[in-house]
Symmetry: C2
Subunit: 155 residues, 2 copies
């Protein structure tokens, strides 16, 4: 099931997450790939965009639909550094994304196995799921970000 380029695409998602952190956003990056090519990518912009829906995955899905000229992302893989929340997992189902590879689990909001798993419900699409690729790096990015935030707030 693994694409030999999975790590390359996840490392790009980690780079995007790093950009987010540098702008003061919770570091989450997402990349959508079709036929071995990146067709869309983004990072979490909730604070920059002042929008609760501006998560990396949803922004990348918007761009991928625009790029492909339709709402179906069949045949695409989404690489994301953190397990999708219910909103993003739902957008993945709605867009018929074929495969999702996520790095770190999210025990607070993860909707592909941690808090709940959308694939357990009789919805009209179930993406293939893989987790853990570059999970240590993604978790470290998040930990460093929140640790730095706490230090700043403590000053």
């Amino acid at each position: 099931m693994n694409d030999s380029n999975d790590e390359i695409f996840m490392r790009r998602a980690l780079e995007l997450a790093k950009e987010a952190a540098e702008l003061g956003e919770v570091p989450v990056g997402a990349v959508i790939v079709k036929d071995g090519e990146i067709i869309a990518e983004d990072f979490n912009r909730r604070e920059l965009d002042k929008n609760a829906a501006a998560h990396a995955e949803l922004l990348a899905i918007n761009k991928a639909c625009e790029r492909l000229g339709g709402w179906r992302l069949t045949g695409c893989t989404l690489y994301v550094t953190l397990e999708p929340c219910p909103m993003c997992a739902g957008a993945i189902v709605n867009s018929r994304l074929s495969r999702v590879v996520f790095a770190a689990k999210d025990p607070k909001a993860g909707a592909f196995g941690s808090v709940l798993n959308l694939n357990f419900y009789p919805l009209n699409h179930k993406p293939k799921l893989e987790s853990g690729l570059c999970g240590i790096e993604a978790s470290a990015q998040l930990r460093d970000f929140f640790s730095s935030l706490r230090n700043k707030r403590g000053k």
Copy 2:
């Protein structure tokens, strides 16, 4: 808990759903209200926008965040003619929307009681939920739309 104006706002959502149907979209309309005033509204535009994320509720949430200048929709009520799907229910949780009133239940994708209920999970926000207001009208709109679609396809 009921706002005496609930029916007025739901009837506006039904009008928006009618506009959607006239444009060939599955008829779903959504209105977001704060302090008795409509601050955002939209209808389902999945086919028009060619975007899996272009559901009425998510589009209205985007507009409400823009209008209020922040990602928190605390104190707002969302009126929607159909039970939110997991994506939209997740966006409602993410935006801390205080209250959701939906008309018709969605046995295929409803994420506030039908297929699943996001409020049953330990996420960081639980909106107040009410259902059934103008449910007969909303269900009739949907039934008529799909019936007309089948007739066209049958020709």
